[in-house]
Amino acid sequence: MIRFEKVTKRYPGPGRPALDQVTLDIDKGEFVYLVGTSGSGKSTALRLVLRELRPTTGRVHVAGKEINRMAGWKVPRLRRQIGTVFQDFRLLPNKTVTENVAFAQQVIGKSRREIGKVVPETLELVGLKDKGDRMPDELSGGEQQRVAIARAFVNRPMILIADEPTGNLDPATSAGIMNLLGDINQTGTTVVMATHDHGIVDQFTKRVIELDHGKVVRDEASGSYGFQH
């Protein structure tokens, strides 16, 4: 589903590359943690998958397509197959929960009928069935993240990318989010999650890919966060 072939990403300016000859392969339906110290290149790897960035050298394949060479006008189509969740939720503050989730469907031209059906379903899935009319600032952090996950999942993407989704949440709330991501993974969606949170990684055991200074230093099918932390 996602394959990096000797991917190197160098940002403008001096210094070592953010990713250095990274090769990795993530299958359909997998749940993968991307771990590593701050600055090790996790976010960079995720942004390469989204084609927000292009590799300096090497190839990135997503869903069978070599996306580093994809024409610009095809990128929106690629992104419709990928849901994205961030540490800071990124909800629209002037829209209700329902509107926030529906937004992701409206702007890619889904019909009103489909939106009317799928949005409530998705809100129910994330456990916010009764909070559709709330504004984001009337929700707890965990609930806001659920809205963000609903928005990422509402178009039923093949891949869900989560960049430190529990970074702003307490352990109990984080566990709830992890269960939700687990449920989404169960539907066949490939989940790639960058995280610092070793409690989570050790508790919800999955495949772990560890980056260090832009290099893959560990790739365990069923790993822990690592001993150094």
């Binding site: 992104r79 937004f103 702007v107 009103r112």
Partner: protein, 315 residues
Amino acid sequence: MQLRYVFTELRTGLRRNLSMHLAVILTLFVSLSLAGIGILVQREATVARDSLGDELKILVNLCTDDDPSHSPNCASGEVTADQQQRIEKEIADSDEVASSAFQSKQEGYDRAYEQAQRNNTQAAFEGPDPVVTVERWPAAYWVTLKTPERADGIISALEGLDGVSVIKDQRKALGQIFGIMTVLKYGSWIGAGFLLFAALLQVTNTIRLAALARRREIAIMRLVGASTLYIALPFLLEALVAAVVGVALAAGVLAAFQYWGVEKALSDHVQFLPWVDWGDYTQALIGLFPPGIVILGPALTLIPTLLLTRKYVKV
């Protein structure tokens, strides 16, 4: 594509940046009005030239016996064949002259008689001892210039020739009118140019602000895979609305100018000139060269919007 969202965005966008949009519209309105007046003046000059083209010719009267001009050129009385040959050569050799035609005494007399009859002033031509006779009517050359601006060479050459009585040069009066038109035309275009530039700057500022105000939405639209066109559409529509309002106001001002200024005032007072009509007005709106305001307005707002949104909305 779900247009409801786009129109909602358009409405909030217009409201959010109302003062900016008003500034764009007003600047656009004034500059397009000026540009349109410039076009109308240019058309007026063309219309006047087209119809007064004959009168832009120079009439060179030749001497008659006892010539009324009392010019020293006519000291020898009726123009001689030699003198006429000399005059003809001078006209033919001049690089200011496009063509020339000889008008005999009889032709000139007939033409004048006809005109007099039409105006009911033929008395001088009739009676037992008429004032105007074929004998007294001068033969002449109609000299057509290459450009109405250049005739000094041929006029000064002919003025000194024996056999030339009077040179009737109507360019002087008309030249002043065309001069005024030229000043008006370029004046309004230069003014329009500055204001259009101001409008351009305002458009870019408006887009920058609008993109800033909508940056969260834009970031999410990009993330979930909205097409670039879809993201840019509210910006383009905002620009289009501003352009349409600006163009409509300018078109109204130009129509008022055409109706009250030209039809009701100028054409009554100044009857010897033909005036621009509604066809010329239409040209000022939708002409291609120079571009009419219906083309100019949207181009000035949409092109920078397209370029800038490509920058701000890039996937």
